[in-house]
């Protein structure tokens, strides 16, 4: 059987939240495999950043794309072959700055893919610049006097954009995260999992998260309720904020991609 961990040397910093994320992803994939999913049918994409390194470590087919384009690649893959389970990994710089547009459009289209956000509140790989999810006051190499922009709230922003599965979890809660990812992949439509991922080098949030994170288990009754939970300041609520049904893109367009043979094409043109 295929080992889900590749032989590539792992260069995440010791203690990086990405380790927990990696473990959770593997657990979720294992569970899918146990249920009969074929590893050949699971495909990943990633952008560039510390998060992107998961591409080298996870022994799954896919594309290690350009910075910011993980979700564009993922959508192209899904449309070309809707039978694949496509998991897109993105960083907060990657998916909420350089590639924000693809992120919102993938949600708007309800593309049947799973998007896992490594939210470490900064640009790790490029040595700790502020990201659009960094808190006000964040000091990094590009904001030495402190970040002045209020961060986007990924959960509510993705709800606004039209994601049909929206969840939040935390790298230190491997079982919770693994289950969330598993549910996200199973969901038919666009699934978004915000993963709170401490960055020990530039944004060590373990203490904050350990103290404030509160998993909930009941799906909120309404979007208002979900928003209230997602926006709470004293506590950081973990769980599934939204899970609704809506025609996903490849179903809605009645996917016409059906590779005709050369002969069929030729015959058509001759007629």
């Amino acid at each position: 059987m295929r080992n889900l961990t590749s032989s590539k040397e792992n260069t995440w910093c010791v203690g990086c939240g990405n380790f927990g994320l990696f473990a959770s992803v593997k657990e979720a994939i294992q569970k899918l495999q146990d249920e009969g999913h074929n590893l050949q049918d699971i495909v990943m994409t990633s952008g560039i950043g510390c998060h992107g390194k998961i591409f080298d470590y996870l022994n799954i087919s896919g594309i290690y794309g350009l910075h910011g384009r993980s979700l564009a690649l993922a959508q192209g893959i899904k449309l070309a072959n809707p039978a694949l389970d496509v998991i897109a990994f993105g960083g907060d710089g990657d998916s909420f700055s350089e590639g924000l547009e693809h992120t919102l459009f993938a949600a708007k289209r309800n593309m049947d893919i799973t998007f896992i956000l490594h939210n470490n509140g900064n640009y790790g790989l490029t040595t700790g610049q502020a990201s659009p999810l960094s808190p006000v006051g964040f000091r990094g190499v590009s904001t030495p006097k402190g970040n002045v922009e209020i961060p986007f709230v990924p959960v509510t922003l993705m709800m606004e954009a039209g994601a049909t599965f929206v969840a939040r979890s935390y790298t230190a809660k491997i079982a919770h995260l693994a289950d969330t990812i598993y549910q996200a992949v199973k969901h038919r439509g666009f699934s978004f999992v915000e993963v709170l991922q401490p960055c020990v080098s530039y944004n060590n949030t373990y203490e904050l998260y350990n103290e404030r994170c509160r998993p909930f288990s009941e799906l909120p009754q309404s979007d208002e309720e979900a928003r209230r939970l997602a926006l709470a300041e004293d506590e950081i609520h973990l769980g599934i904020f939204r899970r609704t049904e809506r025609l996903c893109y490849h179903d809605a367009i009645n996917n016409p991609v059906e590779s005709l043979s050369r002969a069929q094409r030729s015959a058509f043109l001759q007629s």
């Binding site: 050949q40 591409f55 594309i63 072959n81 991609v257």
Partner: protein, 559 residues
Amino acid sequence: MTEKILTVLIGGKAGEGVKKAAQVIADMAAKLGNYTFQVDDYQSLIKGGHNFSVVSISAGKLCNAYKKADLIISFDQRSVLRHQEDGSEDALHFCNEGDAQGSSAIPLPLAKLKQQSYPDGGTMSIAAIAIFAAVGNINYDFMLQSIAEGYHGNSAGNTAFAEAVYKLFSPQEMQVNYHISKHRMVPQSTFSGNQLIALGAWAAGMDCYYGYPMTPASPLLHYLAKQSDKLKVLAMQVESELAAINMAIGSVFAGKRSMVGSSGGGFALMQEGFALAGMVEAPLLCVLSSRPGPATGVSTYTAQEDLYFALNQGHGEFPRIVASPDCFERAFSLAAELLDLVWECQSPAILLTEKHLSESRSNIDLPIDDIPEATQTIPTGQKPYQRYEITESGISPLKFPGTQNCAEDDVIKWNSNEHLESGVRTDEAPAIVAMRDKRKRKYETIAKATSRYQRVAIYGSGQSVVFAYGSTAMELREAQKYHAFTLVVPIYLEPFPGEELASYAGQEVIVAEHSSQAHFAEFLKNKLKVKVKATILRYDGRHFGTDELVQAIKEAENA
């Protein structure tokens, strides 16, 4: 020895159906046994302003539309004034009564008849067709049938209007000096260059097209979207050109032949993605249809300013393929050929063209036989599968996840970072060199692969050698009807077909192109060491006139 040619010019406001009328007129002429060539001159606006379309009609094949018209139909006063000087000797110029003042245009009660025919409003478009039919001595029923085929909805109004206008003319009263209804065997279907590119790529297996609208490339998207059910193709408008090219790369990863298209500005946005295709070795066909730049430039006109831009798409070193169709037939066959080529060589290619080819229309036979029977087999390599297996040719095995060419254990990794054979990232110096050398070997492999195809076209012969590429070659072929010269056209620009062109090295040549900086002449100097005797440049966005070219070539010869 030149065939007789009839040129019809229709002018009016955007939204009045000028282009549509020209299209129906061209279709009628084709059905009646003529070759046609239509060029639309329009501005970036939806209603109002001034548009005009020109259709040239001839018994012989046409490679351009003429600038002097034998029949001018003006829908408004601005058109009357604008086109006063555009008539040939004995040209007929018709307009609505009231618009004729001070001109030699013949006033007809078009507005009045239009109002009578369409109580709820209709289009002037039909009037042009009826005038054309009347002065072209075209069968009345055939005219009505052509209108019915060309226009959907309000058929009663259309018929009434056509009839009323047609009846303004007594039989044989005013006639153009050209016999339209010849019933020769000519190609029956009229295509725009964009349609031909789309169909050519589709014939070679295109399954997905991703685009963001941009004139003059948008019709690729529109045409494929409209035909998507028939062609079983995905034609999707996405959020930006950046999305388009990255989604296309995703789709080729999953095994589907994919294409993107845009004009200069949108192409500029696809550069990083183009470099990605170079790095991951994605077979990807990109259509770049040029218009005058820089920036937004002049959106609805033609240009050839993007030659070096196309040749140097994307950062970093990787093999690029650039080729440009020199006629309508080639638009079809080259698109097919390039799509096969990118899959054979796993490299991105650009089909470089211009508004003049993209949006002009002509009746041609699709060169279906130019399309190879089947795809070459894709190498699948050894076990264990390594996406970037180092090979002599530089071509590595290609597999698609979740498809039959893929085994249980195959892990297929495409990587935008420099990588090992497995597709996993590397920073190690020897591994970097090995992978770059592999990609470097593809230059040679691509050059060899393209040498199977026709990479250069030579038309006619004569004292002077004139070089051109793209649709400028069409313009020159029309000029060859009036003056003999050798027209040399590289279809492939990269890899450069040096062998085929070797005999021109060091020679004195004339170069014609749509640019102000004579980039193509520069290119030929560098590649072929030709001596450029003269350049013929046009850079106002309009196509070359045939007379203009003949004169310029003669001047260059006598200089």
